[in-house]
Each structure stands twice: as structure tokens, then as C-alpha cells.
């Protein structure tokens, strides 16, 4: 199958940045093509077969067995718990753990999930649009179509490989030199 290059021009990026104003002030990369085969929750869970949501199975949505089919933060924490994630307080880049962040709206209902990449940055699927790699809180906020606030961080043990160690070391150096921010002037 031919590989289609990821060409998302200025117009497309402007549309994303209008919905998520903080993205426009930080560095982010488009990492996939648009698809409605999966959503942000599935992407954070590492699945791309179906969207994850506590909806009717005939809608195409997957939801782990044994977890209540209700759209509450507790149900989402339990859903990620089936993958070995445990709630934690810190969103920092840890060598031995991979993390996810759960977003909720003003009513406390889950809206989005992001996963920490092996390089310490975060990856998100934007609805039925593309996957992007972004900074931790670039999608948070209550303006436009932003996903609300980050309500819960969860972590599970990660496989440690040389690439992850290299990124972690680089991250530590940047943090100690206070050059971790990619914000544009």
C-alpha cells in the first residue's frame, strides 16, 4: 500500500490553531492522517481498531468489559486501569513509566485523553482529525473547542530502551538548564 505523505498545509494548521489557541503558541507536529477509525481515548490506550467510549456497541465504540458504560471520570480511570495504569500526581517525564492525562469539561465529564511519548512530549488524536505531538497542556483550556482541564494523570511501567534513555537524559539536561519550553517569542 503506497504511503501517502503527511502534507497538512497552513490552512489546515490554522483551523487546528483556531480551535486550540495554545497550540499556535507552541511547537506541535502532525503525526498521522485524518481517520474516524479510532478516537483520542483509543489512541491514548494504544488501540486503533475502534474508538473507545462508553457508548452502544453498535455505534462501533469499544469499551473494556467490566467497566460501567457511563461517561464519568471514574469510569475512564477504571477503563485505563484495565491496561495497568494507576492514578498518580506528577505529569513529569519519568524513565520507567509511561503516562496518560485525562481531560474533563466544566461539568466534570471526560472529553479527551493524551499519552506521553517516549521522548517526553505528548500525543493526542484530535476527534476524527489527525494525531499530533504536542506539549503537555497545549490542548487544555475552555476557549473555542479546547478539551477543558486535565483532571487526572495515570502511569504504568514502561519498557526501557536506549532511545527512551537518551530522550530522558536530554530532557533532564534541558530541565536543569531551564530550556524545556518551546514557546515562541
Amino acid at each position: 500500500m503506497p504511503r501517502v505523505p503527511l502534507v497538512y498545509g497552513r490552512k489546515y494548521r490554522v483551523a487546528i490553531e483556531q480551535a486550540f489557541p495554545k497550540l499556535g503558541r507552541t511547537r506541535y507536529k502532525v503525526k498521522s492522517h485524518q481517520t474516524d477509525q479510532y478516537n483520542c481515548i483509543a489512541w491514548a490506550a494504544g488501540q486503533t481498531d475502534a474508538p473507545w467510549w462508553p457508548a452502544h456497541p453498535m455505534s462501533g465504540a469499544h469499551w473494556p468489559d467490566g467497566v460501567p458504560r457511563v461517561a464519568t471520570l471514574d469510569a475512564f480511570i477504571r477503563a485505563f486501569g484495565t491496561l495497568g495504569y494507576q492514578p498518580c500526581a506528577e505529569a513529569s517525564f519519568e524513565l520507567r513509566y509511561e503516562k496518560i492525562a485525562l481531560y474533563v469539561d466544566v461539568n466534570g465529564a471526560p472529553t479527551h485523553a493524551a499519552r506521553q511519548c517516549h521522548n517526553g512530549r505528548w500525543t493526542s488524536k484530535l476527534g476524527v482529525e489527525v494525531d499530533i505531538e504536542h506539549e503537555f497542556d497545549a490542548l487544555a483550556g475552555h476557549d473555542q473547542k479546547e478539551y477543558g482541564q486535565i483532571a487526572q494523570i495515570m502511569k504504568r511501567p514502561a519498557k526501557v530502551n536506549p532511545l527512551r534513555i537518551a530522550y530522558w537524559a536530554l530532557h533532564r539536561v534541558r530541565s536543569s538548564l531551564f530550556i524545556g519550553s518551546f514557546r515562541r517569542p
Binding site: 474516524d36 477509525q37 483520542c40 457508548a55 453498535m58 462501533g60 465504540a61 469499544h62 484530535l126
Partner: protein, 164 residues
């Protein structure tokens, strides 16, 4: 100078001339009107039954291979609305309860061929609409939770029914 034929047409009707007996011309026009009314009265139940059959029972759905163009236009308009307004939303319930999605479901069986054809491009989008409109369940339980397999099952169903 008027011809004989023209002169015959300007004969004064019986009523205007004071006679209570209707002229032949009046009788003929009244008879034609009565026949028209009778014909309309006779055909009305047929029209009403056909309308009922089409709108309520959808009995002629499977014979209707090429839906009317306005349904296609309406579907495309609503699909674009849905795209624009839900493109960054991951909440499946929010998407299928969106007004544009509900209006697409409201288009009924005529929109099913378009939904089935669009499964190639958007395999995950119309699964609920298809289930909701047709009431069918062609997806085996082993395919639940896998959008591509579910879309394939619906396409097969559409081919078996002769819809696509």
C-alpha cells in the same frame, strides 16, 4: 361579414334569455365537471394509500434503487455540517446525538445507499445510523469493537439486499 360558423357561437344561452331549461352547452359543461369530481373522488383513496405505503411502511424501499437527488443533496449538506461541528469531538454519544446526525437518520431508508457507499471513506461514522434506520444487525459479535470489520459486515448486508 361574419361567417355562418361564427354566427352560431354567439347564440345567447337559455338562462340569459329567461328560460328555466338549461341549454345543451350548460348541461355538457356541468356533466364534465361532475365526471372530473367523480374521477378525483375515485382516485383519492389510491393516492392516499400509496402515500401511506411509502411514508409509513416503506414497502417500496427495496425497489427504489436510485433515490431521489434531493436526498443525496440533503445528506451531503448534513454530512458537511456534522464534519465541521464535530471534527474535534471524541465523544461518540455527542456525535450520534448531534442534530445533523439525527437529521440524517431522519432521512430514512432513502439515505441508506449513501451511508453504505460512504463506509469506504468513513468506516466508523455511519454504523449507528445504519442500525438505527434499518433495525438490522448484520455485525457478528466477533466483529464488535472493530470498526473496519463492522463496516465490511454492513457492506456485505447492503450487497445481499441489493441496495448497493
Amino acid at each position: 361579414m361574419m361567417s355562418t360558423a361564427s354566427m352560431k357561437r354567439v347564440v345567447v344561452p337559455a338562462q340569459e334569455s329567461g328560460s328555466i331549461v338549461p341549454s345543451l352547452r350548460t348541461l355538457r359543461s356541468s356533466g364534465a365537471a361532475a365526471i372530473t369530481v367523480a374521477r378525483i373522488a375515485a382516485i383519492t383513496p389510491t393516492i392516499m394509500y400509496r402515500y401511506y405505503a411509502r411514508t409509513v411502511t416503506n414497502r417500496d424501499f427495496l425497489e427504489q434503487r436510485e433515490p431521489a437527488i434531493p436526498v443525496r443533496d440533503e445528506f451531503l449538506r448534513l454530512a458537511v455540517d456534522l464534519d465541521t461541528e464535530t471534527r474535534f469531538i471524541s465523544d461518540v454519544n455527542k456525535i450520534i446525538h448531534h442534530s445533523a446526525y439525527q437529521q440524517i437518520i431522519g432521512l430514512g431508508h432513502e439515505v441508506v445507499p449513501f451511508l453504505l457507499r460512504d463506509l469506504d471513506q468513513h468506516p466508523g461514522r455511519w454504523l449507528w445510523a445504519l442500525h438505527s434506520i434499518t433495525g438490522a444487525n448484520p455485525v457478528p459479535s466477533s466483529a464488535l469493537g472493530n470498526v473496519k470489520k463492522m463496516a465490511r459486515a454492513w457492506s456485505e448486508w447492503g450487497k445481499q439486499k441489493g441496495i448497493i
